[in-house]
Symmetry: C2
Subunit: 338 residues, 2 copies
Amino acid sequence: MHETPHIPTLDDVAKVAAVSTATVSRCLNEKQKVSAKTLAKVLEAVESLGYTPNFNARAMAAKQSRTIGAIIPTMENAIFARGLQAFQETLLEQRYNLLVSSSAYQPKLEAQQIRELVARGADGLLLIGYERDEAVYDYLARRGIPTVLAWASKPDSRHVSVGFDNRAAMRQLTDRVIEMGHRQLAVISGIVDGNDRAAERLAGIQDSWQAHGFHLDDLPVIQRPYETKSGAAAFEELVQVDVKPTVIMCGNDVLAAGVVSRARDLGFSVPDDISVTGFDDIELAKHVYPALTTVHVPHRKMGRIAADSLINLIEDREGEVSQQLDVFIQMRASLKQL
Amino acid sequence: MHETPHIPTLDDVAKVAAVSTATVSRCLNEKQKVSAKTLAKVLEAVESLGYTPNFNARAMAAKQSRTIGAIIPTMENAIFARGLQAFQETLLEQRYNLLVSSSAYQPKLEAQQIRELVARGADGLLLIGYERDEAVYDYLARRGIPTVLAWASKPDSRHVSVGFDNRAAMRQLTDRVIEMGHRQLAVISGIVDGNDRAAERLAGIQDSWQAHGFHLDDLPVIQRPYETKSGAAAFEELVQVDVKPTVIMCGNDVLAAGVVSRARDLGFSVPDDISVTGFDDIELAKHVYPALTTVHVPHRKMGRIAADSLINLIEDREGEVSQQLDVFIQMRASLKQL
DNA sequence: TTGTAGGCGTTATCAA
DNA sequence: TTGATAACGCCTACAA
């Protein structure tokens, strides 16, 4: 069935245009080095043959691919979508292409996909968070692959990062919650193992809790994967206790959305019976009812800056590298003053 | 700054293992053709050097990449996320990799990305919907690139598609709406130009409307991009009329979510003052309040089947190709009997 | 401004 | 079971 059709190559174009392959290559890559006449001739041949350069051959010969790889933990919920979109737009403006894969929050899978993207000739990489096996960083360093870490920030680290301080942000939100009179908190955290954002957010809550003179033993914490349904199930667990929490703080808007929905289904009123908070300020946060009080993250800005940083790194230019962005608390109806 | 590190190649491995490059290649690709002793020797060399095969070189020499390209209209909302996830999982099981790009609903961009993926050596392509320039299909045919169209279905077409009948589904939902007593409908459609799913869904509503003896002139329709905020804005327009609609049917859950939220903010009660329907049954549909009556699409199943079809095509096997999936109406609180 | 020719890192076809 | 060696399609000194 697969009749192998003839795919035009540089040679074909060269023959049709009656020039050398070198000239054709120049017409495609450095027009200024070619006379207007030959350029026209060659482009016509390209057109008539429907020629498209073979990317693999080009990357191999030129030793660069103008391709950036990004590995995000998940595509399923919208956490990374908006930032990634902006990242891609910025890359495209500079004629870089983006390759995306998702690691399903599995470090081994991520490591494998890093090798895959590098093997594909990626000129640089965008990774989420900073916590990963040292061997991975070694590998990247040995191959000389410029890498930017996003969605987190470690100013003291030897890595380039464009993100925000998850811990400080969550601490700030918790301070606010406690100031509003809440004393019975419960936490639904993301799985902290292998996820520095989740770990830092939880730590931020604990920082604030202790700073206010409370004891960690009095702070119920459960860890759940970032899915609405696990938030919903976690809610049921958390309210089956003698002293119900007055507020449930979630490591993420997705968990919080699950909590709010399930609470309503079970006849709880949010925020009158119980308050809920999230983190990220994704689209969902505005559309659940009541809308979520959450930490607003400048996703698009982060994506843009990450792209600029990475390109600077790749092209060996001066300019910004690591950058820590500001976030703010977005108050909405799901959190109530006691 | 970029010290060009030495990246180990097949040659390096061959030297260290004291065999030929051909043998090393065999160890990596067809172990059974190699003696156990050499295999061990070679793998050890691979390990010690930290060798990773160069993908571009491999693809060029082998004339196949085990890579599938997918181009979706957007990553921003979750419409395609779940299906794509399943698509990828199925591919991975068969040792195919997935490359994703997003066309932002722009046909020219899509055409360009198709060329890009083909140039990268994609063995096959997944595209959304069937409506695109004939030149694109010609190009694909000339290059002999197996392609599967998803999220839509054209059984009479010469293309392979794995999807569902958007028009029939929406007609069915509309029948239901009308049976429930609604006579004042208003429609917020997606932009139909260049989007067959949006066009078919709108047509489905019109089919039902006319079949019930009503006139198209009495059916207010506005087209808006698939974003919650445009749904929200559209809602305001639609209720600023003398005879308010009793139900607003949206081409998509995202639009419907925007409508529900804005309606509530403006003091309307959904569904008591006005009913709302969506399409797709994405996560969001369950979490807005009230939850959306919508058309449930078997996203994951569609993704799996599309992957199987595409692989069958690529590997020239017998087996299923086009397939039309069933959808059903998911009744939830946003639609009320009059 | 243009052409020649070597090389990029694999795989695959032959022989050995 | 192994080893030479010719592709694969393009880029890029270097020469002309």
